[in-house]
Symmetry: C2
Subunit: 568 residues, 2 copies
């Protein structure tokens, strides 16, 4: 290991960890992106969804959110506080509310309508592995459910306290105070960090050594290293750096009955790889207390390109050809026709938009037979050493030839503003719009089939459940053998029945995607929402094997009940 | 899935599967490579090891090998034959001998000296998954141990029947008759095949579709797809195509109590990945009955380059720099100073050798201060699309600049003859030479430390156990964060005590490597030989977790006892 860098006293880290986030929506408390800032898109949506623009669903004050009283007695609270240290336990309503759910549409609706049925009985903020061990030991004796909590940005019900009456209470372990970088091995490009570190803090520490993790999920500012591992996350540059699965080389897991310390080795043949048991385990086995990941040299150059295909099918074929021929851009974002229209209406993504030169380019394209309203937009990014970027870009663009060039602007803008997009969602909810996402993956030979099956099921279910709807799709993670498919769904929310309405739609599309041979999830995970379908993809025996594993690590079944698989 | 290609009636496949292999040594029965064909190397070895060239250890006739009688009764045999089908069960001494051990030095010594303590009580050749299910069911009831058998080329005691007296018998399941390619999905580059298919047969089927698996371990002609997965194999082009771990996307596993069918999806987030439980499971959980792997386009171009560094340390630094800077050749083979001298004495590898132009080049190098006797040889290979090869080669060679060029010949020759090398080993054994390999992996920051620790321990142990010795090392698998280290050891065998002599040496080097922080194995696996050390790398709790997994899939503990981890 190289020199040890500790960030515990770092002002940036401290600022990041304490800056207030919304309890009712996405991101920083002082930041919002109203849809009214995108007037063309807003008009377009009103027309497509037949929305009454005067509808307003306001966010209630936090005091109006009803949560059940904590089940913990004063004695239990003081015992717990002794284990985690003074000031590291909270019973504050604001903390209990903001740890009660994640950040899916269902979650936001429930927060905004104040209909939380459950909340953690206490939130603990352990500062080290020792405190976690002590809490788990105590929880086993008292039969407390334990919910590990990273950034809380998940969208499949992974952090919701679902302990039933057989548990004495449900404690949420928020790992935000374990956010130190413990060591950076510059020679090997390895970084050892605590699980609660968020994307920007980790990147800052790495950048000081001219390194980057290269892992940028859309939740990057708020989600954590431990959370990425527990949920098997994928970032926007996964084409180049891989998923967190590919970046992870070592970890420590404190489970109620076992302790795993998987050493970081570049390659090993030590039987079944124990870190793979922890990847995607979603807190049901134990608490990840340390992670070692591969970091890469900071890219010297970054370039972008945007292309317009005549159809999504043509765009998919080009992506496939790039992936098969070693010519894949480091970032690819291919929108289907519906999403391309949506983005055109939003003028790219940001308010800067595709005006000026880009607008002129679009006009000229029209003369050549390409129409953005009927096309499929591909945004590409390339990064690394200068000559590699030039070479890779040349090879990719050659395979994108059937498409028309839109220059670099759209891709560059999308890249710059990609963390802003989730803010707009809250504005949609303000207007009574249903908006959520559904994601899957399929092999190239099955991708169009899964795409059509998913889109059709969504359109039909939207129609049956709410009337007009809009189904967009894009591909943002590409593999040699296939790709992810990411649907965004807009509809009119049925006031008072938002959750039931969405659950009906979600069930229909999930079944359709599985019937077509798509993945149950590509990177959102299983959580509580997808758990009922897990047997369909891993088989009944697969569930039994996962359960046996859980029993070995967590014999009392206290870890994150209700998620992934049942304890028995 | 694309069009289905079945090879069951293919004459090449049939020829491959029936061509006779040596029962006592490496490879085809009709092929050998005596050391006398490399006169300079042979003289060099005689000097270094102080060998009497007149010593001969001949191979006895197979009839002289003593094996215990089969424990199966005629009734049991006929019941088993019913399950696998007529002609698919063998009690022949030749079959029992050749399924009794793998292909490590210890194995070959025991075969040649006729000192096999155990042999399978019967060898079954199932033709389909149904037969395997039936056999396992029967074996559970009768308490037969089951040893799955692929190519039998492993070197860590993975196929040896180690069932103790608590088992009624030990059956070896040789999967060679399950060698069909079941489907090739050309669009996605996916191939579904049975586990017993060998490298060349699989590559032939893929080549017909302009595809390659890109997996070429040195045992490639004889080892099998299922064996690669079960042992977590790595091939000589792993820099480009990855290990089998990276190529595997789906599989079926028939275990005594469970059945796993992991679907082939390009990316998925379905909780802990069940195929990772099977990867490296070495037959202790069940029998792999089908494998889906990623195949890649056949390379249009292939180029080679060889460079001579002034030291192994300088060569390692260059490899690290290539790996960190995205400039890694698709094949790299870096020899330390001792191995470089050995290769120079062997004039490259083949009998063609480094004569002629290469000899002249070496002479000229000498004038520039590079001496092959003190240098470190790096062989490189590049393959893929023409412009990619050119680009990647240029970038790699730039980072190899401290080295002197030796042209392309040495690398090209090594690549062409890489499957021939193991044949020479039998000739060493004929001359009473101890020869085996030890492999590990380490991060870049720890690679030299592990190298020195391993080399020193080997030299010391060789000296104590036999006098003169020769320890060579090379790096053939490179990762962003580190590399493999592969030692080859030559010494003078102590006649009659060869196994004990080697076990003492192996124990010393294994402890030294683990103390230094290296991997217990990089790609040979655990088997019986490394099992006593597994707790040191996965921890006592890691062993308990693996045991729990085994209990779930194989409650009676009949699968490959004595390997990887104990059943309880």
């Amino acid at each position: 290991m190289g020199p040890v860098t500790s960030l515990s006293a770092d002002p940036f880290a401290a600022r990041m960890q304490t800056r207030e986030v919304k309890w009712w929506g996405w991101g920083w408390d002082d930041r919002s992106r109203p849809i009214e800032g995108f007037p063309v898109l807003w008009t377009y949506l009103q027309q497509r969804l037949k929305i009454d623009p005067h509808i307003r669903r306001s966010v209630p004050p936090i005091g109006a959110v009803q949560i059940p009283p904590s089940l913990l007695s004063p004695d239990e609270i003081s015992e717990l506080e002794k284990l985690v240290g003074e000031g590291n336990l909270s019973l504050e309503p604001r903390d209990r509310v903001s740890h009660a759910v994640g950040r899916s549409y269902k979650d936001l609706v429930r927060l905004r309508t104040g209909t939380l049925l459950r909340a953690p009985d206490a939130i603990l903020f352990p500062e080290d592995e020792g405190a976690i061990r002590a809490v788990l030991e105590f929880a086993r004796r008292r039969r407390y459910a334990i919910v590990p909590f990273g950034g809380g940005t998940g969208v499949v019900g992974g952090v919701e306290p679902l302990a039933d009456g057989t548990y004495a209470a449900s404690l949420t372990l928020d790992l935000r105070r374990m956010h130190r970088v413990k060591a950076i091995d510059e020679q090997s490009g390895l970084v050892v960090a605590e699980p609660g570190i968020r994307g920007p803090i980790l990147e800052e520490a790495l950048a000081a050594k001219s390194l980057t993790l290269g892992h940028f999920p859309q939740s990057w500012e708020f989600s954590t290293l431990g959370g990425w591992v527990a949920t098997r996350a994928a970032g926007g540059l996964s084409n180049r750096y891989g998923r967190i699965d590919d970046l992870l080389v070592g970890l420590r897991l404190v489970a109620p009955a076992r302790f795993l310390d998987v050493r970081a080795l570049p390659g090993q043949d030590h039987g079944p790889d124990l870190k793979e048991l922890v990847l995607g385990s979603e807190g049901i086995l134990g608490v990840i207390t340390e992670v070692t990941v591969r970091a890469h040299p900071l890219p010297a150059a970054r370039r972008f390109a945007s292309r317009l295909f005549r159809s999504f099918e043509e765009g998919l074929a080009a992506l496939r050809s790039m992936a098969r021929k070693d010519a894949l851009p480091d970032m690819t974002y291919l929108s289907d026709e519906e999403e391309t229209r949506f983005m055109a209406a939003g003028r790219g993504i940001g308010p800067g938009g595709a005006g000026g030169a880009a607008g002129l380019a679009l006009k000229l394209l029209g003369l050549r037979g390409y129409r953005i309203e009927q096309g499929s937009l591909l945004l590409m990014g390339f990064e690394g050493a200068r000559d590699r970027v030039a070479h890779q870009r040349r090879r990719a663009l050659r395979l994108a030839r059937p498409a028309a060039s839109l220059g670099a602007g759209s891709a560059k803008r999308w890249y710059a503003e990609r963390f802003e997009i989730p803010y707009v969602r809250d504005s949609f909810l303000d207007h009574g719009i249903l908006v959520d996402t559904v994601e899957t993956a399929a092999s190239w030979s099955n991708a169009l089939n899964v795409y059509h099956a998913g889109a059709k099921a969504l359109q039909l279910a939207l129609w049956e459940e709410g009337g007009a709807g809009l189904v967009l799709c894009h591909v943002s993670h590409v593999y040699p053998d296939g790709a992810s498919l990411y649907f965004t769904v807009y509809g009119v929310a049925r006031e008072g029945q938002e959750v039931a309405q969405w659950e009906t739609i979600k069930d229909a599309v999930t079944r359709a995607i599985l019937d077509a041979g798509g993945a149950l999830s590509h990177h959102h995970g299983i959580g509580a929402d997808h758990a009922p379908y897990l047997g369909r993809v891993v088989g009944e025996d697969g569930l039994l094997v996962l359960r046996a594993l859980k029993r070995e690590l967590d014999p009392e079944g206290i870890m994150n009940p209700g998620k992934l698989v049942r304890a028995r």
